[in-house]
């Protein structure tokens, strides 16, 4: 008899499980050594808890009612549950707090390679450590973790979620036009972005700036180029760079157009790329305003890696060696 399982989920059998376990063990070793204690939280949370955060593209998709009629959701990410844990269980603890996790999250995506509806995330959260030190620590742990897994060709894209909004501020683009511009940028539609910009009352020079800046990406020279409205965000990236060890800094691609589809990021954001895989392996960033929504205002930063994506990238790298 063949009994099906829901679309976007899958069974893992022993040969694959051994390889996945080797990856998570390597990650756990690095996280533990860096002082990040493992936590686990319920897969089901009250909808009102996750609704405190602006999850945007990562919002929960699956809901059930409990016996009291409360709405429960399957968590769509681990950062918000850990923010809840930090505010609830560590209300009086001296920061910084360091947590790591290996947990499944659930999203209503169209199932395809690297996009499952149930997926295992491995990550850390560093709570109470502000920019730039906290960000540099997270990026350093990230690179150590990827090295430990055995990836050789990965790169880390580093940008700032506040950069483009600051640029729009600086050029006095009205609030009502911003959402559409940010949407085009988040979708990576630069043709659409140009069309939207040409529909606004902006000078040719301003349009050129708004199109060019989000496409600036590459080595450190990216940080030398623009100033003006984005000076603060770029200076922030420069401060992170100055704190990175050379072998970590060598992995970094500075990307002034980097934006992630999650709303709670407030400052530096990063994404992990491997040339063997067509989509990011993971990512993270600063969420300095999220803990405040749970009543414990603390700056924070974290990242999550898709364990299946890591596995795919590793297998592809090994094939190409």
């Amino acid at each position: 008899m063949i009994h099906p399982i829901p679309s976007g989920t899958r069974d893992v059998l022993p040969d694959e499980m051994r390889e996945l376990r080797a990856i998570t063990e390597a990650l756990l070793g690095v996280f533990e050594q860096a002082g990040y204690g493992e936590v686990y939280t319920p897969a089901l949370e009250y909808e009102t808890v996750l609704a405190r955060a602006a999850l945007a593209d990562a919002r929960p998709a699956y809901r059930v009612f409990d016996e009291n009629g409360e709405v429960l959701v399957l968590r769509s990410d681990m950062t918000v549950p850990i923010a809840r844990v930090a505010a609830t269980r560590y209300a009086a603890s001296e920061p910084p707090l360091r947590f790591c996790y290996f947990a499944h999250a659930y999203r209503g995506v169209r199932p395809q390679r690297g996009q499952a509806r149930e997926f295992l995330q491995a990550g850390i959260e560093l709570i109470g450590s502000p920019a730039p030190q906290g960000t540099a620590e997270a990026v350093t742990v990230l690179c150590r973790a990827l090295d430990a897994v055995g990836l050789r060709r990965y790169r880390v894209g580093l940008g700032d979620a506040s950069l483009y909004p600051a640029l729009l501020d600086g050029l006095s683009v009205p609030d009502e036009d911003r959402a559409r511009l940010l949407e085009e940028l988040a979708r990576g539609d630069f043709v659409g972005l140009e069309n939207e910009l040409r529909g606004l009352r902006l000078g040719e020079e301003q349009i050129e700036l708004l199109l060019r800046v989000p496409q600036l990406r590459g080595g450190q020279d990216v940080l030398d180029a623009p100033a003006g409205p984005v000076a603060d965000a770029v200076a922030g990236l420069r401060r992170i760079r100055d704190l990175l060890e050379p072998q970590v800094a060598d992995r970094v691609i500075f990307d002034l157009g980097l934006s992630r589809g999650i709303g709670y990021y407030s400052g530096a954001v990063f994404e992990v790329y491997d040339p063997a895989l067509g989509m990011p392996v993971g990512g993270g960033g600063r969420y300095d305003d999220l803990l405040g929504r749970f009543g414990r205002p603390l700056p924070a930063v974290g990242f999550a890696l898709g364990v299946d994506s890591l596995h795919l990238a590793l297998a592809a790298e090994e094939r190409e060696r």
Partner: protein
């Protein structure tokens, strides 16, 4: 001159000749692709040819670094904000300008059968190869529609009474006229677009930026 080591996905069909012309103008060797319509991979694997609807699939997965396809194909793939998911499928980098077509709503000439169906039956039946674009258009204008997806000649559907209207792409309008159909609404203009894989866009930034510049000027 080469493709800078980038794998380029090239659409066969209506955009094929203009695409090869444009690539040739920036110095990419397209000679064999022009003459051999059975082979799929050219120029040491840097030029791969496929149906236009497959271009975003190859580029999104990273099997090609960049590709060229019609805006209609990209619009039809867009599942809307609800399913747009947590990652960008492809980056859209450049409007190449050629392959200009208009997405239209058309019906049989004379009194508008779509308007009559909406008035009397509350819903209009619409045949199309672009179910998502058609659905979004009718939802966006507050009208109820039954979308009928067809694979072949869409013009046949209203002539046989299968539907009252069609949503389709037209360049000159000749096929519509020859089948006694008239354009009632224009949904948008579609041209050829250069798209890139999001990871390639970061890891091969210089090669991609240079390709964009050369194509923009060609």
């Amino acid at each position: 001159m080469s493709s800078n080591g980038l794998v380029i996905a090239v659409p066969r069909g209506a955009l094929f000749k203009d695409t090869l012309d444009r690539l040739e103008r920036i110095g990419i060797d397209v000679g064999e692709a022009r003459t051999n319509d059975r082979k799929l991979v050219f120029a040491d694997g840097t030029l791969i040819t496929m149906r236009p609807t497959d271009v975003p699939t190859y580029v999104a997965a990273g099997a090609a670094d960049v590709g060229i396809t019609g805006k209609d194909v990209l619009m039809e793939r867009d599942e809307g904000p609800a399913v747009r998911a947590s990652h960008r499928e492809v980056y859209e980098l450049l409007d190449l300008g050629y392959g200009r077509c208009t997405m239209v709503l058309a019906t049989i000439a004379g009194p508008d059968p779509a308007a009559e169906a909406l008035r009397r039956l509350g819903v209009v039946r619409v045949a199309t190869k672009y179910p998502r674009i058609a659905t979004a258009h009718f939802e966006g204008t507050g009208r109820q529609a039954e979308i009928v997806e067809v694979k072949g000649s869409v013009e046949l559907a209203p002539l046989t009474g299968l539907v009252e209207a069609i949503v389709d792409l037209t360049a000159t309008g000749t096929t519509l006229r020859e089948n006694n159909l008239v354009i009632r609404e224009e949904l948008g203009v579609c041209t050829a677009r250069l798209i890139a894989n999001p990871v390639a866009h970061k890891l091969q930034a210089r090669a991609i930026d240079e390709l964009v510049e050369r194509l923009r000027e060609a």
